[in-house]
Structures are given as structure tokens and as C-alpha cells.
Subunit: 397 residues, 2 copies
């Protein structure tokens, strides 16, 4: 009945991967704090984390145990979603009543005084008080980190932020499938937005079409950048009531979350026949994105993909110089995951990594354009997870 939407087999597979990596890690167990790392380890996403902006839940994962530490308020919905009540350590005050007081969630009020106390209890229960524990310190507020040091003076905490990013970087087939669904939903949403475009239509009206298509497909919209004319040069900007005019570029950069997995796609249209500059510049950024696709495979360095993209834009009639800080990024349970396709990233691609490649161009006073797609690295190349509408779409003026 509780209809956990994400496949339980995928959750198990992620836990298996986490544990197999743990065998070679410089710590015996790992404590995940960030919303993305916690989701990876458990499959549970907290509504209250969305409301309050920081994730109040942690998972303590060892070779054969998985404890969840969270607020009382997340106990009942967590159990409904598949978390094990016997392995849930609760903190804080929230009242779930139950008929005869038998439901475990109704017995948890004030079980532990606060987050740190509950975390310490979990460590104690697994007898790790003298152990080495990996922790994603980048997601750990300083007060909490200080409390943990006081409550668990003999634990050696090791920053596992990069290690966890590495575990999550290689996607399982089920994750790739969700990332493709996430990308395809946004791809369709943008195409619906382009279909609604025309002279006199406003950015905001088009953004509503895109956003509606996303939520209808159970995708949480996170950024819906629909910019036109000179505003298309503004990079990350909200849609306004500006009405489209003949000659305008219409640039989309849209992302959201489907079952926890992010999308981030870019498309460009033009209202009426494109000018020579619009046409040649777009052709250059499209060819450059394609050059990244053609080059990407296991072993290729992120920085070499960056250089290739810049070189091809400049050599193909695009803007010169073509200046960018990056031409792509990993994507998964976070919108920007390592590696980033930057000039200074020596990280080699591996099969199972998922990326967004992009070659945007922003010229103030003139306009902006982009094409951004999602892909997975395969054994001998890549497979695109989005590919429709990549050309400069001409909207009848």
C-alpha cells in the first residue's frame, strides 16, 4: 500500500555498492549526513528536509548494519517508506498517537535529546566508540561536529565527503534509468515550451508551460530559466513578462528532481529566421558539444574534454575567444557532481559516470544560447540520455 516509488532493488544495489567500496576504505563504517548521501544509503527522502533546508537525517553504515538517525517526525513516514523501525534512532519531540500505544513511532518522543545524542547512541550501539568512522564533513554543521567530538572522544572521524562522491560517481543501471527518465521529462517539457512560443508570448507564459509539464510528470521543478532576446544573455535568470519579438533568441536552462535524480538541460530556439551570427554561433556550440560526445570514453581526462570543447567552438566559426569556467559536470542525486569538466581537472572518465555536457555562450546586449545534454559513459564511448531538439529550433515569427 505504501507504494514506495523507487525500486527497492535499486536501494539494495546502492547499499551493496556502498559496502563493497567500504571494504577498501580507510575507515570501517561511514556516517552519511547530506540529503543526497542519506538518500543514496536509504532511499528515504524527508519532506521536512525540503521545508527546513537542511537534512535532519543520517545513516550509519557498517559492513553488516545500517542504522538511521532522524527526528521523531520522520519516523512514521520513514517506516511507511520502508525504513526498519528497529534500526531507527529518534530525537526531538513530535507526537504520533496510536490506538493502544503499540506503534513504534508513537513511543519515540524524546528518545534522544538531540541529533548529536542520537548519533552517539548509534555509534555506541554498533560498538564503534573506538573506531574510525568516515563522515561527510562538508555537510556537517560546526556545532554538530563539536558535539560529536565531545560525546565520542575516542572515535577517529575521517572526512569521507570525496569518498562518498566517488562511490556515487559510478552509477548503477537503475540509477542511469532514473536519470534518463528525469532528463526525458525535462526534454519534453522544454519542447512543449518551444511549441508554445511565438511573437507576443511572454517568457513567464512559456515557463509556466515547462513547469506544468514537469510537475505533471512527478518532477519537482528547481530552476526554470526561460530567457529571451537580450535577456537570454543573463545566464541564470528568472523568466519575466517580456514578450517575444521577431529575431529573439529564446534560451532554456531547466532542471528538477525525479525520484531524487536531477535533470539539467539546455535548449535554444529563435523567433523567425536566425541571423547569420545566430546561426553560425549556434552551429559552433553544437559542433563543440558533439565533439565532446565523440571524444568521451573511459580514460579520457575531464580537462581534455574542456579544452576540446573550447577549441572546437573557436575553430568552427563561434565566438573567439570562447571563454568558459567549465563545459559540463557530473549529475546524479546532486545537480553538480564531480568530476566537473574544467581546465584543471585531471580526473579520468569511467564507465557508469553520468554527465551534462554544455557549451553556453552569453553576450550582453546581443543574447545567449546553449545546448546541454545528459549522457552516461559506456565501456567504449557514451550513450545520450537526451537528444531531441538539439538543433536551433526556428519558431515561426
Amino acid at each position: 500500500m505504501s507504494a514506495r516509488l523507487i525500486d527497492p532493488h535499486l536501494i539494495s544495489a546502492r547499499q551493496d555498492r556502498l559496502r563493497s567500496q567500504l571494504e577498501q576504505a580507510p575507515f570501517d563504517s561511514v556516517l552519511t549526513l547530506s540529503a543526497a548521501n542519506f538518500d543514496y544509503a536509504t532511499g528515504y527522502r524527508s519532506v521536512s528536509a525540503t521545508v527546513h533546508g537542511i537534512s535532519p537525517l543520517a545513516a550509519l553504515v557498517s559492513a553488516d548494519e545500517l542504522l538511521v538517525i532522524g527526528p521523531v517526525a520522520d519516523s512514521a513516514p520513514g517506516f511507511d517508506a520502508g525504513l526498519n523501525p528497529d534500526d531507527y534512532l529518534a530525537y526531538g519531540r513530535f507526537y504520533f498517537e496510536s490506538d493502544n500505544g503499540s506503534a513504534r513511532a508513537s513511543q519515540l518522543v524524546d528518545e534522544h535529546a538531540d541529533y548529536a545524542q542520537a548519533l552517539a547512541a548509534a555509534v555506541t550501539r554498533l560498538q564503534l566508540q573506538h573506531g574510525r568512522i568516515g563522515i561527510d564533513e562538508r555537510a556537517c554543521p560546526m556545532p554538530l561536529r563539536h558535539q560529536l567530538a565531545e560525546l565520542l572522544p575516542l572515535v577517529q572521524f575521517v572526512d569521507a565527503s570525496d569518498w562518498l562522491a566517488g562511490v556515487r560517481a559510478i552509477k548503477l543501471p537503475g540509477e542511469v534509468a532514473l536519470l534518463e527518465q528525469s532528463a526525458r521529462i525535462v526534454e519534453s517539457a522544454i519542447l512543449a515550451g518551444i511549441a508554445a512560443a511565438g511573437v507576443g508570448v511572454t517568457e513567464a507564459e512559456i515557463a509556466r508551460v515547462v513547469t506544468s509539464a514537469m510537475v505533471t510528470a512527478d518532477t519537482e521543478p528547481r530552476f526554470v530559466v526561460v530567457t529571451s532576446g537580450p535577456r537570454s544573455a543573463l545566464a541564470d535568470a528568472y523568466a519575466t513578462n517580456r514578450a517575444l519579438q521577431p529575431g529573439d533568441l529564446l534560451r532554456f536552462d531547466v532542471g528538477g528532481m525525479y525520484e531524487g535524480y536531477w535533470s539539467d538541460l539546455g535548449r535554444t530556439a529563435v523567433i523567425g529566421e536566425p541571423s547569420a551570427k545566430q546561426k553560425s554561433f549556434y552551429e559552433a556550440i553544437l559542433v563543440a558539444e558533439q565533439a565532446q560526445f565523440d571524444m568521451a570514453r573511459p580514460g579520457v581526462l575531464a580537462q581534455d574534454l574542456f579544452t576540446r570543447a573550447v577549441d572546437v567552438v573557436e575553430a568552427s566559426g563561434g565566438p573567439r575567444p570562447y571563454r568558459r569556467q567549465h563545459c559540463g559536470h557530473g549529475i546524479g542525486l546532486e545537480v553538480y557532481e564531480s568530476p566537473i569538466i574544467r581546465p584543471d581537472s585531471p580526473t579520468p572518465l569511467e564507465a557508469g559516470m553520468t554527465f551534462c555536457f554544455e557549451t553556453p555562450y552569453y553576450e550582453l546586449g546581443w543574447g545567449g544560447m546553449m545546448v546541454e545534454d545528459t549522457l552516461v559513459v559506456t565501456e567504449n564511448g557514451i550513450r545520450l540520455l537526451s537528444d531531441r531538439g538539439r538543433d536551433l529550433t526556428v519558431v515561426a515569427a
Copy 2:
């Protein structure tokens, strides 16, 4: 053309309030870091803050100056939205090109190396290196705080988190109008969800109706809790594919943001004629919410409103004991603002404060119900900003 959606007069009015409060503050200027405090001071909301989860912008406000510190990437969209280019101190690397290089946003690459350096430059520009500066420390990451202490050794930083919350607690008329719009949009969205309900319809289908209505009205959905039958007892839980059955309670708890201002409303329906217990318990929580409305006025203490709500639930045929950690909270640019309607909050209400009052009840195995509304405290009472569908709506089974 740039169609800043929020009224520039409201931004000025908020700045005026901030400065008038600053005259009595124990510091001469204030540095706002949190997304909500930054929005209050400037009216600008960053898309990239949404993407990356933490706000990368700050405002330094003195009696007669307002400087904005932000990434290069936010410069062009920020100027388009009304920020003053001459008062923007940029950090980091992002490339906006411009025809002749004349656009200010194209000249900002690497103006300052990082956030802390740009903040220090702003303090120096206002000659505050020996001053007392308020800062919302709760929104300040520790590494940034350490950098500021090093770069500005003679500045006396004072935690202004509570002070800023106090400034924002009393809403201006324009803010109340936006909060009412935000509440009314969600109210209509929930009513549309109830209209779509019936035996066999799933929670997820109803959630899609609610969410679509929100995005169509330019509201960013943040939590759309649609739970039914036993799941209605789960408090903050996501909608699932559970289909409605005769006798089910159907509980909505929905919030989002309209122009930065939050909504948070609760409604309950029942599929078919309610049972005696459903009817009497709902009547009790509704009467208790009404008792809070009747009692609320300037000078009344938050804790007395809490006690009143609990007493009335118990005295009106509702659950006994009725146990809650709070029965309401302030609302504005954040979903939970102080004061919270808690048993231990001696804060008196003031005219211009805006609240959500709520009296939810969650019984595992049976169900959950709630009624939550938004209101503004007036000179001699309150005015409701939501009031439709507060009864237990009966959906034909």
C-alpha cells in the same frame, strides 16, 4: 522590460524599515547572508542559490549605503532585476561577453578572489574596518566566518540573527498582500485537489492537481503532502499511489513560495459520510483553531495561544490528551519564522505579525486531520488571509 515582478516600492519600504530599526541597533551596519535576509534587503532572488542550496549573496546595509556582494554569475541577472551595478562587488569566475566590453558584468571576472575577500572589500569601501557590524551568524558557514575574522581583525561582529528576524517579523502592508496571494493560491490549489478526489483516485493524482494549480499561478511548490486513510496519520509524507477508499480521511498540508513569500495551509476531507469520531475530532480541532483566532491580538503571548488551543481541543470532544509541540508559527520569507506558538514562548504578538495557526492530530492506524490557516495580527485582533474550505469537506463516495 526586465519586469521585476516584485513592486520596487515594497523593496524600498523594506529597506526603510531595516534602516529605521538600525538606528536603535547595537551596531552601525548589518551584513545579511541568509537567502531570506538578503531578499528582504535587496528584492533579488538568485537562481543559482536555488540550484546550489546555499545563498552566495550578501548585502551590507548602513544608514545611507547598500552594497551587494555576490558571484560574477549573479551580476548580469541581478542588474537586470534592479541591483545597482556600481554597488555590486563580485567574486569568482564567470564570463559574460559584451560587444565592446562596456557592460559592467563583463568586466567583473575575478574582481575578488572569493566571497570573503569581496565581503572584506565591501566593509573597507564603507570604512567600517573598525566598526561594529551585525551579521546573521546562523547563516554563516564556519570557514567563511574564520576568513572574515582574519581579513577584518578590528571589526567587531555581533550576531544579528535574532535582530533580523525581529525586523522581518512585523510585516509591511505590501508583504501582507503577497502573503495573502501566496495563501490564496495554495487554498485554491487544495480545493482543486479536493474537487478531483473520489473513490479509486490516488494520492499522487490529487497531488498532481494541487501542484499544477500552484505552478500555473507562479508559485514554486515546496511541499505537497496529500495523504489518505491510515497514511493521513504520517504527518510530513509524500503522496503515493494509494487509491482512496470510502471512509478515508484525506489530509492536505501544502506550501510553496510566491515572490519569495511562503504559504503553508492544511485542509482535511473525508470520502463519504464521516464516522462519529472523524466528525467530533475534526469539530474539536476546528473550534480550537477558531479559539486561537478569537484570542489573538497585540499583547497576547504566543504560549497562551498554545495553551488555549490544547485546552479547547480537549474540552470540545477532541482527543484527550491532545499533545503537540506547537500550534502555529510565524510565516514570511521563511516558512517557519519566530515567534512559534509553543508552550515556552513568552513573546507577545504585535500588529503586523503574520502567522499560521494549526491544530493537527495524527493517530497511527486510524488517520490524521488538520486545519491550518494564515493570518495577520491587526490593531485589535486578526484578519484571516485564508478561510475557504475550513470545514471537513465530504467527498461523495
